[in-house]
């Protein structure tokens, strides 16, 4: 899933990328590191604040696997990652293992650039059905393309509600009772919205509706957040046969109506769309956020009493959208087995607990939440605990197998049109659905070979 670089991460991202690019150029081609260790190049887009944790992870892996030299290389996320992957695949310099987003699977599989992960899972050094069943099924949905598991998650995330407890108190709201329903979200937003000087423009809003330019780089991120509300209304993106998009149905309309209502009532057209900055400067009292930013908050939100709450429940109950980063092994790798050793190691419960404690991400396996040491850790980290508890209602949208980027974009444009453009939510959703359905009609459904057996929808075992 699209992952937002934190403010701190952004600043170092560019020089780091340049530096690593030079380094990579310097060591390119060499497959054996000094001392005959197997070199495994690992591309990732972790934000700056996660890098120390990553260094620890790599050190631990190399300690436990002295024959493997794991080389993490930073690639900026979003468009840059997929552009680099394409360049690398086309020029035969692909990494051994890389982060990917579910959106890229369509192209990566079409180009036969990655191994189906099931080849390793079913292999001699594979994973047991019990191991797979322990991983959140929603994550495996995103890790698969047309029913085949092509990647494995490295960590889990979901979307929660970050709120300012000080501002809640100031507005006469109970900071221990964050909004639990859509109606409360609207009511709280009204209470928290403030026009101090009476000029008709709000100095403070309650809930920052995360609208951004639909075709811009943040479009996919906006759609991902919208999906959480779509699920709270009981909706989905696409039907199981991949023939029709579903976001223009009633749940989609309800979700977009809610966003539009909040957007209009807080007059967000006249408000900054730098959401994180407005929260940090206490001009927005609530915003959507994921756990990856938690390590930054002691510094960024110094002096603010903040909390994390589960997302308010919609007409269909509580739900949030799951995210994560997925590891894929590239066909051009000279050591796919060594790459698999890393992927399998990262997915083990012990390492998941370790990685979550260091990085602030959530574990991909349910059993980790039962480990006593991890429970003790969560007790000391209420923010992360809120996210961890929310995993129980975290769901994956059904992934779109054809023209997924365009179909996602059509929805992003519709969201912008209904909010910033002031258009009717039903009308813009119908328009987006018509354009997307035309793409699905034109999709070449024979392009990819028959899908291999896949994990059952309830997240159970793959059957060979």
């Amino acid at each position: 899933m699209q992952r937002r670089a934190s403010l701190g991460g952004l600043r170092l991202a560019l020089p780091a990328a340049l530096g690593l690019g030079l380094l990579a150029a310097g060591c390119g081609g060499g497959e054996e590191a000094e001392g005959g260790r197997t070199r495994v190049v690992f591309w990732h887009s972790f934000v700056n604040s996660t890098i120390p944790a990553l260094d620890e992870l790599v050190a631990r892996f190399e300690r436990e696997h002295p024959d493997i030299d794991l080389v993490p290389q930073y690639i900026p996320t979003g468009d840059a990652l997929v552009q680099k992957l394409i360049t690398a695949v086309r020029s035969n310099t692909a990494p051994d293992v890389s982060w990917i987003h579910a959106d890229y699977l369509e192209d990566l599989v079409a180009a036969d650039a990655i191994y189906p992960m099931s080849e390793f899972i079913d292999g001699p050094d594979g994973l047991s059905p019990a191991d797979l069943a322990d991983i959140y099924p929603a994550l495996l949905t995103y890790a698969s393309y047309r029913g085949t598991l092509y990647s494995l998650p490295m960590e889990a995330t979901n979307l929660g509600l970050l709120y300012n407890r000080d501002l809640f108190r100031e507005a006469g709201l109970d900071p221990d009772r964050p909004p639990a329903t859509w109606d409360e979200l609207v009511a709280y937003s009204q209470r928290l919205t403030l026009d101090r000087n009476g000029d008709g423009r709000f100095e403070r809003i309650g809930f920052a509706v995360p609208v951004s330019p639909g075709t811009g780089p943040d479009g996919p991120w906006m759609v991902w957040q919208f999906t959480a509300f779509l699920m709270q209304a009981g909706g989905d993106i696409i039907d199981s046969g991949q023939t029709r998009v579903l976001y223009a149905h009633e749940p989609g309309r309800q979700a977009l109506n809610l966003w539009k209502r909040l957007f209009d009532l807080q007059n967000q057209r006249q408000f900054s769309n730098e959401y994180q900055s407005t929260f940090v400067s206490q001009q927005a009292a609530m915003m959507l956020d994921g756990p990856w930013n938690l390590p930054n908050y002691p510094r960024l939100l110094r002096g603010i009493d903040w909390g994390i709450a589960p997302l308010p429940a919609g007409p269909d109950g509580p739900a949030t959208v799951v995210g994560g980063e997925y590891l894929a092994i590239f066909r051009q790798s000279a050591h796919p087995e060594a790459a698999w050793t890393f992927v399998k190691w990262v997915a083990s419960p012990e390492i998941q607990a370790f990685w979550s404690q260091r990085s602030g991400y959530l574990p991909i396996r349910r059993s980790v939440l039962e480990l006593p040491a991890y429970r003790a850790f969560l007790a000391e980290n209420p923010g992360l605990r809120a996210y961890a508890e929310q995993m129980a209602v975290a769901r994956a949208q059904r992934s779109v197998d054809f023209s997924s980027l365009e179909i996602q974009r059509n929805l992003a444009v519709a969201i912008e049109q209904a909010t910033v453009g002031g258009e009717d939510p039903g009308a813009v959703l119908d328009r987006a659905a018509a354009a997307s359905n035309a793409l699905l009609d034109a999709a070449d459904r024979t392009a990819v070979a028959a899908p291999r057996p896949a994990p059952a929808p309830n997240g159970a075992q793959p059957v060979e």
């Binding site: 695949v89 192209d107 075709t215 811009g216 900055s277 001009q283 444009v413 453009g421």
Partner: protein
Amino acid sequence: MMAEVAAAEAQGLRRVASAAARPRRAPWRRDGRTAFLLLAPTLAVFGVFVLFPIVFSFYLSFQQWNLFSGAHTFVGGANYRAVFADPEFWQVFRNTAVYTLATVPLNMALALGVAVLLARRMRGKRLLRAAFFTPVVVSSVAAGVIWRWVFDPNLGLFNVSLGALGLPAVDWTSNGTSAMAALIIVGVWKTFGVNMVLFSAGLSGIPRQYYEAAAMDGARAWGQFRHITLPLLAPTTLFVLVLSMIGSFQVFDIVFVLTRGGPLGATKVLVYYLYEHAFKYFDMGYASAVAYLLFALLFAITLVQIRAFRNRGAGAV
């Protein structure tokens, strides 16, 4: 990148033109051989990184090619037809035209005005010239990020200043017209320094005697400007106009950082559209078709401009 390509193309055209004027001489003869040898590295780089992509992109514009898989098929003019049939292309085209028509005159007027003022004897002239030129060398991305903060509706310097003056705030990010205005402001700020330097060079080439004679005849400053500066500056003006038009039509980086094409696509420009199709949807054939349409358009505009100036120049003589 596009600007460099265009500049290189323009240079190439001029080189061809001047070569045609002189008698032809094979490059391998006597001193020609040395020259060719010395040029070889540059020519190789130019050939691999400029010439080849230009030609290859033309070939691609008739292909259906997904960058990832590498498989491509000939589709004839289908890419061009698809571009013309896409309503978004026309919106993007209109946006680019609006941006160009606003930016180029503003840019040239400002550049000429500043150049004329700085042509006088004055203190701190060099410092001022350097200051006006600084935006040109500032990284577009850094500048874009700074301006994004300046234009932020409730945190930004611009609206805070308007408020302090008792003026109503402007919704720079959610109103299409304001967002385009913001883009134009930044576009002019970022590029007029180059034109100022070009005009300054042009001005220093005008002999002083003309002004002295005109002053003797009683011409005032405005008369001198209209009847001496402007006509004698015409070649520079043509050059500046052509370069500015090309540059404006190819605007990308500040859009990418400042408005990200929003709101509602109101600031999405041609090259941004091209970028999206090339590097987000990986439809290289389609993107190449857009690139060649842009090239054809710029070529036509440049020809018209050169012809118009030539005719006017002929009439004046």
